[in-house]
């Protein structure tokens, strides 16, 4: 099939993108699909997911309980129709991965094994030791290789969505190896680029998580939803931000302060028991655990480290056999990056930016308000995650909504005419802009300086706790950084694998996404889930049981509006953990 024009074009080759690509061909085998990714698909950040993937399979579990845990975990900001579809389809999707060869950990009788996870009332998290995302990604990637109607554009960076008369008709992309810039047209485009953790200084996210897809959609006029909800995972390794999976606590790990005290008992999360209790203490939700850390630090009960305050994750009582069988990667990471052995030593950890609940506004089929544009996975906000995602819901989300977006895009593409040629002017403009940036002479400061300042600004202004004051300062600083970015220095003028040019384009995406986060957060005058305002400490269902939708108008300044949350069977209630 001809390169340059496709039926469905997918931006991103991680869990959601690969699942979408296969779903398109399952639905419409005659279509042709392109996957355009700035990295080889098996490098995608899905690879780093560790602990597992939630889906109801065990006897005694029920779809209702998975739905309720998800909705309560999301502080009632989840759309309940979407959650119901999600929990119903999650087992089908994980079984499909099983049929495709995913090496799920097993029970002695050969059935898939499940483990506990934070905020989940039943054991329902499927796992492949603690490299679940790695195995899931490689299974999907290797399975995708059997489809000869998938064309891959590996290491192509998408710089712009082509929009013609209100319809998405393709992308402009830059091939890293050669530097050439091309329009790739398509009848439908699916964004599956993942999150934007690199907007913050301390994150579990890989270097590639720069919010590209969010920025592409936002610039094309599609709204971003619930961007104020940024998840801090409670257990990141200091300095690197590398994630220590929640599975470490699910297998029985304890969080202790400088006195060896399991401090979570002081934060309405239950009583300490020697073995893990579901939805209690260390198995509470991530937002509450990260907030407890901040309070504990304020009391002076955390530990000083060269990289800020930390607490300890204690796995020693689990013993070497359990750690080797269930948490081999945790041990590997601790040995490599902290030079310590969790079998014998305490692991220093602190909260770390991990996941964006918000993203490109979609409906339950991944459809965005922009015709021909779809989104799935972390880049999207359906929303099943509400104000706080539960651990092990994101991998099945990639699969369920990747497949849904794939099917919806396939149906659209099968019935749509090919794009007209009006996009050529946009392509020319984009090419000219990119060439100008590459050849830019002089310039004030390096890309990295602006990036670092943006990251510090976000941590200070829109971290675990925010206020009107902190966010006003952050918004002002971000405006200044946008201005300074326009004259930033690009010292690499070459075409061949110009990673400085890519870093500049990524920074530009991150600045737009950062502004959307701060803007949405400053408008939500309540505390809910991961969005905690010191000046508005209570949840306010009367005014804010609603999704925020941030748009960028023609003058490039954002505006926000609200849309109602879909409530089906679970009216808003108190979130209860450990009691």
């Amino acid at each position: 099939m001809a390169r340059g024009s496709h039926d469905v074009l997918i931006v991103g080759g991680g869990g959601a993108g690969l699942r979408a690509a296969i779903a398109v061909l399952e639905a419409e085998p005659r279509l042709d699909v392109a996957i355009v990714s700035k990295v080889y698909p098996m490098r995608s950040h899905t690879v780093s997911a560790e602990g597992g993937a939630a889906a109801v399979i065990a006897s005694g579990d029920s779809l209702e309980e998975h739905a309720h845990d998800t909705i309560a975990g999301g502080d009632w900001l989840c759309d309940q129709d979407a959650v119901e579809a999600f929990v119903k389809e999650a087992p089908e999707e994980l079984l499909r991965l099983e049929h495709w060869g995913c090496p799920w950990s097993r029970e002695p009788d050969g059935h898939v094994a499940v483990r506990p996870f934070g905020g989940m009332k039943q054991m329902r998290t499927w796992y492949a030791a603690d490299k679940t995302g790695f195995h899931l990604l490689h299974t999907l990637f290797q399975t995708s290789l059997k489809y000869d109607r998938i064309t891959r554009y590996d290491e192509w960076f998408v710089t712009k969505l082509l929009v013609d008369d209100g319809r998405t008709v393709g992308v402009v992309a830059l091939e890293l190896a050669s530097g050439r810039i091309e329009a790739i047209t398509a009848k439908a485009v699916i964004l599956a680029t993942g999150g934007c953790g690199r907007v913050f200084p301390f994150t579990t996210n890989a270097n590639i998580k720069t919010g590209d897809g969010m920025a592409l959609a936002y610039r094309a006029g599609a709204p971003l939803k619930d961007m104020e909800f940024v998840q801090y995972h409670p257990t990141g390794l200091p300095f690197t931000g590398i994630l220590i999976t929640e599975a470490a606590r699910a297998e029985g790990g304890w969080l202790v302060n400088k006195d060896g005290y399991r401090y979570l008992q002081d934060y309405d999360l239950g009583k300490p028991e020697p073995t893990p209790v579901l939805k209690s203490m260390e198995l509470g939700p991530r937002d509450r655990l990260s907030q407890a850390f901040v309070k504990e630090a304020e009391k002076g009960r955390t530990i000083d480290s060269p990289y800020g305050q930390v607490v300890y994750l204690d796995l020693r009582h689990l013993g070497e056999a359990v750690i080797a069988a269930k948490l081999p990667m945790v041990r590997e990471l601790c040995l490599d990056y902290e030079n310590l052995d969790p079998v014998k030593e305490l692991i220093p950890v602190r909260p770390v930016v991990h996941y964006m609940m918000g993203g490109v506004h979609t409906d339950i089929d991944g459809t965005t308000p922009l015709a021909g544009l779809y989104a799935a996975g972390e880049v999207a906000c359906v929303s099943i995650n509400g104000a706080n995602r539960l651990g092990s819901n994101s991998l099945p989300e990639c699969l369920v909504f990747g497949a849904r977006a794939g099917r919806a895009a396939a149906a659209f593409a099968a019935g749509a005419a090919g794009p007209a040629s009006a996009e050529h002017a946009q392509e020319r403009d984009e090419r000219r802009g990119l060439e100008r940036l590459r050849r830019r002479d002089g310039g004030q400061e390096p890309i990295s300086a602006i990036r670092e300042e943006m990251q510090e600004t976000m941590e200070d202004g829109a971290g675990i706790y925010r206020s009107a004051d902190s966010m006003t300062k952050a918004a002002d600083k971000l405006r200044e950084l946008q201005e300074r970015f326009r004259s930033a220095r690009v010292s690499d003028h070459s075409r061949t694998f110009n990673t400085e040019l890519i870093a500049a384009l990524e920074l530009s995406c991150m600045l737009d996404v950062a502004e959307a986060i701060v803007f949405s957060a400053s408008r939500r005058e309540e505390s809910r889930g991961a969005h905690q305002r010191t000046d508005f400490p209570a949840r306010d269902d009367d005014h804010y049981l609603a999704h925020s939708l941030v748009h960028r108008d023609a003058a490039a300044s954002p505006t926000v509006e609200y849309s109602p949350v879909t409530i089906t069977r679970w009216p808003p209630a108190e979130r209860v953990y450990g009691r």
């Binding site: 490098r43 079984l95 049929h99 220095r489 690009v490 061949t496």
Partner: protein
């Protein structure tokens, strides 16, 4: 421990020069810095034109393979302090065409990976309900070979691949075995054509460098050795038996 260390980094930009050169960068020597942290320091604070791949910085995405003091390594899982007082040579992986600086072209591997059909092949339909049962022992049969992160260190280490670029190579063979040994798979005869040729397992001279280079403790050399008798038996069966009975 001295507080500075020198990285001697290979620079190559085909637009500018026909040959690679080496450039010295003196950087801070911090005890928790990986080679990758050192390169990032150069990129962000010294020379923005240096190009290399990296992403997860936790040894799982496989992007940052390079040659460190002559050995193939993941830059993110190799630490400066282990090379003190230096200098440390940082070069692109061996046996691959270099695109620029430390970035190599790995398209050849992607083609070879596809050629070994790294997916579950079934003669029957998928079960309508539930999972294929697989005991922990059956999982253990292939699990090790499923740990490959495609980082290319084994191809860089492999003397055969260096001499005969047609050789399918350690990772692709290990991944073929990952499926051949999976109790859910019935496709080993379909992989035979690729694996049992001269450019398949028979090219391997069992030097074992691949297994030593692997950062994830996969044993590609073991996979290859283990496949050789299978290849003989399967080839004989293919020769002697009608297709249905294989």
């Amino acid at each position: 421990m001295a507080d500075r260390i020198t990285l001697q980094v290979t620079r190559y930009l085909p637009e500018d020069s026909a040959r690679p050169t080496s450039r010295d960068y003196e950087i801070p020597l911090r005890k928790d810095w990986s080679i990758l942290d050192g390169l990032n320091h150069i990129k962000d604070h010294v020379d923005g034109t240096l190009s290399y791949r990296w992403s997860c910085r936790m040894g799982i995405c496989g992007s940052c393979g390079m040659t460190v003091n002559g050995e193939p390594k993941l830059a993110c899982a190799t630490f400066l302090a282990d090379y003190a007082p230096g200098p440390v040579r940082v070069e692109p992986l061996n046996n691959f065409p270099v695109i620029r600086d430390l970035v190599v072209e790995i398209g050849d591997f992607l083609e070879k990976l596809s050629a070994v059909k790294p997916w579950i092949i079934r003669e029957d339909e998928e079960p309508v309900d539930g999972e294929y049962l697989q005991t922990p022992a059956e999982l253990a049969e292939y699990k090790q070979f499923s740990m490959c992160i495609n980082c290319m260190l084994c191809y860089s280490a492999c003397p055969v691949y260096g001499l005969e670029p047609g050789f399918i190579g350690p990772a692709a063979i290990a991944l073929a075995q990952r499926y051949n040994l999976d109790s859910r798979d019935q496709g080993s005869h379909e992989r035979l054509d690729v694996l049992s040729t001269d450019e398949g397992v028979w090219d391997c001279t069992f030097v074992g460098e691949c297994t030593r280079a692997c950062p994830k403790h996969v044993d590609p050399a073991g996979a290859i050795q283990r496949y050789k008798p299978t290849a003989v038996t399967e080839t004989l069966k293919a020769f002697l038996l009608p297709r249905g009975k294989r």
